[in-house]
Amino acid sequence: MQRMVIERILIGIVTLWVVSVLVFVMTSMLPGDVAQIVLGQSATPESLAAYRAERGLDQPRVFQYFAWLGNMLTGDLGTSKAGGATISSLISGRLYNTMILAAIVAVIAVPLSVALGLMAAMYPGTWIDRSLTFGTLALISVPEFFIATFMVLIFAVNLGWLPAIARVAPEDTFWESARGLAMPLITLIIVVAAQMIRMTRAGILNVMNSPYIEMAILKGVRRKRIILRHAFFNTIGPIVNVIALNLAYLVSGVVIVETIFAYPGLAKLMIDGVQTRDLPLVQATAMIFCGTYVILIILADVAAILANPRLRNPK
């Protein structure tokens, strides 16, 4: 069992390395360069050259890669080619915002969706199941930016209950930040929960035609216990996996929500980075995203191993 865990971790590390190469190569493919983007329409050959020299954009790629990799391993993410600020200073605040948002969503969405998923599986074919299935179906079928904007119009513009954008400022009171975060939270919860509810339900129904379920029925076990004790415990693996994927999405995939609510998160920073050709920034954020993903997946695998008695205590 320890072997399996270690194996997972090693695989994770290898993956991360591949990612680093991938990210570097892809960012190198980007046309135009930071100098051009920053100086924009008013760029002149001299000012461009000056800018490049000033920020050391004129060394060969390979050197840049290893330099970058080395620095990153020593925890130095470099400095922004655009603003000149250190990447870590740019990221730190954003990372915090992103993590807070993700954490809150997770804390609310995960239990909620697992519970609802179980409920749907417990009464298959009933109105509860049908309405849940169709509701979630509808939600995962509409572009999230539509959901988000729709909510903004209703709650911010028309009703004026909530601010349209989620600008979090340190001086905000708890209540202010709560109101500010409300809509991104709701949007993300809707998007993420819909997925997880469906997956939980599917996962449960998957084991539902195992002989041991039939046996439970023949033992006169109540449906609640069949689902919660007999089925659920055999579905933990897959469910945890889905949860992990969704959490990874919360950290990296929420570009659109961050854009619509002008929420200063990492994903948005990454997009800005791409648009300003701020390669160190893009690379750093990308590595953070992939790192999170890999870690989450490892955790999920380990959880699955622990949840499975065969692997937990072999003969």
Binding site: V18, F146, T149, A202, Y293
Partner: protein, 306 residues
């Protein structure tokens, strides 16, 4: 059955007692009404992909109406009726949606197809070959998977510019990685089957094993997954359009139609709602079909719970 043919040797009354079929032959897929509804809607859009431009009242790029954000069933003198009203640039929404089917559904379909061509071949090859080939493929795949889709899309599109072939390629690469995962999983499941082993024992080539033994048995589950991928691709391309990287004007695609007309919503124009509904109708329809198919697995026994 067998015994009848065996009748030459010994006792006669066995003819009465054939070997009984062990299990009733498994039911073939039967769609519920929701599933059928799904099929109808998907069929409709597929037809629109083909004939959309001809049935549309106006050209997708015609800037002809009296005003932007005209309401449902409004009329422009000398031009005609705008069933779904007009968009921000005084174009006919219905027409654009019908033209857009070609872009949105067509592109998504091609992309998904391509994703499958790549993902399935690689995935099953990895499962069949195993060893270091599997290792390498899997790691690279994990890496791609771990990159956020939007970011990957953004990078590729920004790097190579936004043309339809590139959009298709991008979506294909991104989703090939998840297809790879599934295909590989099913592949490994099937690889342990005796019939595959016996094919290997016969000395069959890797390609025979991939395409004749393994693939046909993975076809059904992969087919249902195909539906879901298609949905993801539609939404993915919409999101790219949202970030201004998707289909380029004047071509209409549903995602960017929603995007471009969102302002209209702020004072109650339905302009962005129609394309959003188009997207939803298509994706929901596919999900309905998929749900119907996969509902066959499991659920039945669950209904027996008390």
């Amino acid at each position: 059955m067998s015994d009848t043919t065996q009748s030459k040797d010994d006792d006669q009354d066995k003819t009465i007692y054939d070997e009984l079929p062990d299990a009733p032959p498994k039911k073939k897929l039967k769609l519920t009404w929701t599933g059928k509804l799904g099929v109808v809607i998907v069929a409709f859009w597929v037809i629109m992909v083909v004939i959309g431009p001809w049935v549309a009242p106006f050209d997708e790029a015609d800037i002809i109406a009296d005003d932007s954000y005209m309401g449902v069933m409004s009329v422009t003198e000398g031009e005609g009726l705008h069933v779904f009203g007009t968009d921000y640039l005084e174009r006919d929404i219905l027409s654009r949606i019908l033209w857009g089917a070609r872009m949105t559904v067509g592109i998504a379909f091609l992309a998904t197809l391509l994703a499958y061509a790549m993902g399935v071949t690689a995935g099953i090859a990895a499962a069949v070959k195993g060893g270091w080939i599997d290792m390498v493929l899997s790691r690279v795949n994990d890496a791609i998977l771990s990159l956020p889709t939007i970011m990957l899309g953004l990078l590729i599109v920004v790097a190579l510019g936004s043309s339809i072939p590139i959009l298709i390629g991008t979506a294909a690469i991104i989703y090939a990685s998840s297809v790879f995962r599934i295909a590989r999983a099913y592949g490994q499941e099937i690889m342990v089957m005796d019939y595959v082993e016996s094919a290997q024992a016969r000395g069959e080539t890797i390609w025979w094993i991939i395409f004749r033994e393994v693939l046909p048995n993975a076809a059904m589950p992969l087919a249902t997954d195909f539906g879901l991928r298609l949905v993801f691709v539609v939404l993915f391309i919409s999101s790219l359009s949202f970030l201004g990287l998707g289909i380029q004007p004047p071509a209409a695609d549903w995602g960017s139609m929603v995007r471009q007309n969102l302002e209209g919503m702020q004072y109650g124009s339905l302009a962005p709602v129609w394309p959003a509904l188009a997207i939803a109708s298509f994706t929901i329809a596919i999900n309905l079909i998929v749900d119907d198919i996969s509902a066959k697995s499991g659920g039945d026994l669950a209904k027996k719970m008390i």
